[in-house]
């Protein structure tokens, strides 16, 4: 490492020094989130990922110190390595912003913006991109692509209508589980993610496909529609696991564990893969050693209203008003859906009125 030459590269006027072989995207991430391009298909932990979605296009306004000519085309920053003295424009380039808006428009042709009902809402990178680059309307007037419903086993649900064909899940299945049972079928706009002859994905690590999916195409059947992520509190937790690192994020509401995911870094990428047991089957607080609240570094809605850095008031209501408050209504008694005897997180699938049937 030490004898490797360092290349100086400037991205949106921020200069960093990185080892030769670093991609523009990685250099930009090093330079800071303000200049880092969005990435929908690249995933630093997956070999050969990137290059496909074209959201990370940037303009190379100076090739290198030796050959300062600009590159004629925009390049995919996730797959282009830096040269010494390279100058890159990302958010400072009109061309880039225009092309990226184009890419977002293309992606939104066949990706419904059904964030209000999509399980990924709040965690979806396309939602962020649409917000930043999209327009309120679309110029596309034709029928959208539709797909037959497809299930990938008892724990993972695929919504092909939302898939943007980033290939990340295919690469996870290929590289992590050493047993590829699903992939891309057909080509062009008919291309779809599917499993081999409707086979279930049952590998011990297959749950990770859910975490890498940048949109709501792959969801966790033990969690989906149980809650919106921004109502949950993310906690760092761990357990002794023979199969994986056992380090996870728990998504709790009160003491109920609603969801278990791998821990994600600043760029929304998994830090360490976790096994299916940890993810799907350890849904009790007692299964875990809780380390404390997890900071969500992303700029999305999940990090809103989280209590990191929050000062807990020391006074109680009693102290403030000088007497015990009188309770006018006990919400648990009045509301049919707030029953203490019902553990929402343990209900199969989303809760329905039938789950709160008093006679049950």
């Amino acid at each position: 490492m030490s004898d490797q030459p360092l290349f100086k590269v400037t991205i949106d006027n921020v200069t960093v020094e990185v080892p030769a072989g670093t991609t523009i995207l990685q250099a930009a991430r090093q330079a800071g989130p303000e200049v880092a391009p969005p990435a929908m298909c690249y995933y630093s932990k997956l070999e050969g990922s990137g290059g496909k979605c074209r959201t990370c296009l940037v303009e190379v306004s100076k090739g290198s110190e030796k050959d300062p000519r600009p590159m004629p085309k925009l390049v995919a920053s996730c797959r282009t390595t830096v040269m010494d003295g390279m100058e890159v424009k990302n958010y400072t380039s009109e061309r880039v912003l225009d092309a990226r808006a184009g890419v977002v428009e293309f992606l939104l042709i066949n990706h419904p913006l059904d964030c209000p009902i999509c399980d990924q809402a709040g965690e979806c990178h396309l939602q962020d991109l649409a917000y930043e680059h999209g327009k309120a309307g679309t110029r596309y007037e034709f029928q959208r692509r539709t797909f037959e419903k497809h299930t990938l086993g008892d724990k993972i649900q695929l919504h092909m209508t939302r898939c943007i064909l980033c290939y990340r899940c295919v690469m996870v299945a290929d590289q992590l589980t050493k047993k590829r049972e699903h992939g891309v079928l057909d080509r062009g706009e008919h291309a779809e993610i599917t499993s081999y002859l409707e086979k279930n994905l049952d590998n011990e690590f297959i749950g990770n496909v859910i975490d890498v999916c940048p949109v709501g195409a792959l969801t966790d059947k033990t969690f989906r529609f149980k809650n919106r992520v921004w109502f949950l509190k993310p906690l760092n937790a761990h357990r002794d696991c023979e199969k994986c690192c056992g380090k996870v994020t728990l998504w709790n509401r009160g003491d109920e564990v609603f969801r278990v995911t791998a821990r994600k870094d600043q760029w929304g990428e998994v830090e360490d893969w976790i096994c299916n047991d940890c993810r799907f089957d350890k849904k009790k607080t007692s299964d875990w050693v809780i380390e404390g609240p997890r900071e969500i570094a992303r700029h999305s809605v999940i990090s809103a209203n989280k209590y990191i850095g929050l000062k807990k008031p020391t006074e109680t209501i009693d102290e403030v008003i000088g007497k015990k408050p009188r309770l006018f209504m006990d919400i648990n008694k009045v509301s049919g859906v707030n029953r203490k005897d019902i553990d929402l997180s343990l209900i199969e699938g989303p809760a329905h009125s039938i789950d709160f049937d008093k006679d049950k």
């Binding site: 959201t55 184009g102 890419v103 293309f106 706009e189």
Partner: protein, 447 residues
């Protein structure tokens, strides 16, 4: 002057005996006495440009091939030929299979490839047998296999049948497909010259390019380089089709004018029923269409010639490309909008679907075009179409995105009034009927 097709008419030339009798395989005998580096040098001197479409200098490409110690290298012959309007390689392989095999042996020797592949499109169902037979004959006569002509050089040629996908003609998708994977283009770099088939250094060349190695070795690179005009050296096969009296495959000299090629009796013999020339796609469906006036004269007012530089006009806006040599002529009765729509359908259907702009944009373009063509379009649709193609072009992994965008851009640029006519005269647009209308409609309505 014919360098490739000279003997094409000779009876039995498809077979070794007749081919050899007429001077076949001389170039191999000569080449094996030279060093591989000397052959590469000859090819460089010849100025040969790749005949697969992009026109990249072949000698230069060969010299880029990485030569790490102990790692095998491969030569792959691109016989996918799926570009609409292009059918010259098929002619070569069908009638002169030994010419290709001869070129392949010398090229394999020059590049150090002991295992060479011919990747042929699936729809050319009958040609692999012809090639296999030629390979067997060459082998029986000591020109292939172990220790060729006692030179110590071993070479096998394998014919690999594709399943029939245009994208598999793109060299990196071809390599993926050859390796038994989905035909998705790879992201470059690394280039095939460094990591190609089985991650080994690989050269991919077009059928015609490899056949041209035969005359280059026979006559010497320098002599070959003297034939032609400027950087367009040698001769070129053109597959001419559309509204022509004599469509077919022609071997042309590069100083031939476009006008002579279309009208003279020696070549295409003019346009049927004396109709007027409207437009032409000079280099296979992906290159920009040119209206008649720009086709016949360059931006400088000179006669346009059938060669790389003249057709691209040195980068002038009006320019097009020689491309793969698929020369498609449209007479005055043809509807450019309809043709563009048909092409757009092709590109939509053939997009591999890896990158978002091509996957989503090609279908969008086709649907807008279909609306306009059927008299259901609005004026804004024309600008929208322009905008969509603009956002595909240059932003994709492989050039299929450009290939889909360029025809649309050129059609709007040169024939905007025709698009507007469809919008302004919806009833008439709906009842107009052009040659291939029935067929195209049946094909398109299913979608």
């Amino acid at each position: 002057m014919k360098l490739l097709l000279e003997n094409a008419h000779i009876e039995g030339i498809r077979f070794f005996e007749a081919y050899r009798k007429h001077g076949g395989y001389r170039s191999v005998e000569k080449a094996l006495k030279m060093s591989p580096a000397e052959i590469v040098e000859e090819v460089k001197k010849s100025g040969l440009r790749g005949r697969g479409g992009a026109g990249f200098p072949t000698g230069l490409k060969w010299s880029f091939l990485a030569k790490p110690e102990g790692i095998p290298r491969h030569l792959v012959c691109n016989a996918d030929e799926s570009e609409p309007g292009t059918f010259k390689d098929r002619y070569l392989m069908e009638f002169l299979p030994h010419l290709l095999i001869e070129g392949l042996i010398t090229s394999s020797y020059a590049l150090g490839s002991n295992a060479t592949y011919i990747y042929i499109r699936g729809e050319y169902a009958w040609i692999p047998d012809i090639l296999e037979q030629a390979i067997q004959e060459a082998k029986n006569n000591g020109f292939l296999g172990k220790n060729i002509l006692g030179s110590g050089f071993d070479c096998e040629i394998y014919v690999h049948r594709g399943a029939g996908a245009y994208i598999c003609g793109e060299e990196t998708a071809l390599i993926e497909s050859l390796e038994g994977k989905r035909g998705n283009p790879r992201i470059k770099p690394p280039f095939p010259a460094v990591q190609g088939v089985w991650m080994r250094p690989t050269v991919v060349n077009n059928v015609e390019t490899l056949a041209a190695i035969v005359p280059i070795i026979n006559m010497g690179g320098e002599e070959y380089g003297k034939i032609g005009v400027g950087k367009s050296t040698g001769t070129k096969l053109i597959s001419a089709c559309g509204n022509l009296n004599k469509p077919g495959v022609y071997e042309i000299p590069f100083d031939l004018s476009v006008e002579d090629f279309i009208y003279s009796d020696e070549w295409c013999g003019g346009i049927p029923k004396g109709k007027k020339l409207k437009a032409c796609i000079p280099g296979g469906s992906s290159v920009p269409i040119l209206p008649a006036n720009l086709l016949l004269t360059t931006a400088k007012g000179e006669k346009r010639l059938m060669n790389y530089e003249s057709l691209s006009d040195g980068g002038f806006q009006t320019g097009s490309m020689l491309g793969s040599g698929g020369f498609i002529v449209l007479d005055e009765d043809q509807c450019v909008v309809k043709h563009t729509m048909t092409l757009a359908h092709f590109y939509m259907h053939e997009s591999c679907g890896q990158c978002s702009p091509c996957r989503e944009g090609t279908g969008w373009m086709w649907r807008i075009l279909k609306n306009i063509e059927q008299g259901k379009g609005k004026m804004e649709d024309i600008d929208l179409l322009w905008d969509v193609q603009r956002r595909i072009e240059g932003n994709t992994i492989c050039p299929l995105g450009d290939a889909a965008a360029w025809p649309v851009a050129a059609a709007i640029r040169h024939f905007r009034d025709e698009f507007e006519w469809h919008v302004l005269n919806p009833e008439e647009a709906q009842v107009r009927n052009f040659g291939l209308a029935h067929y195209a409609d049946e094909l398109l309505i299913q979608n």
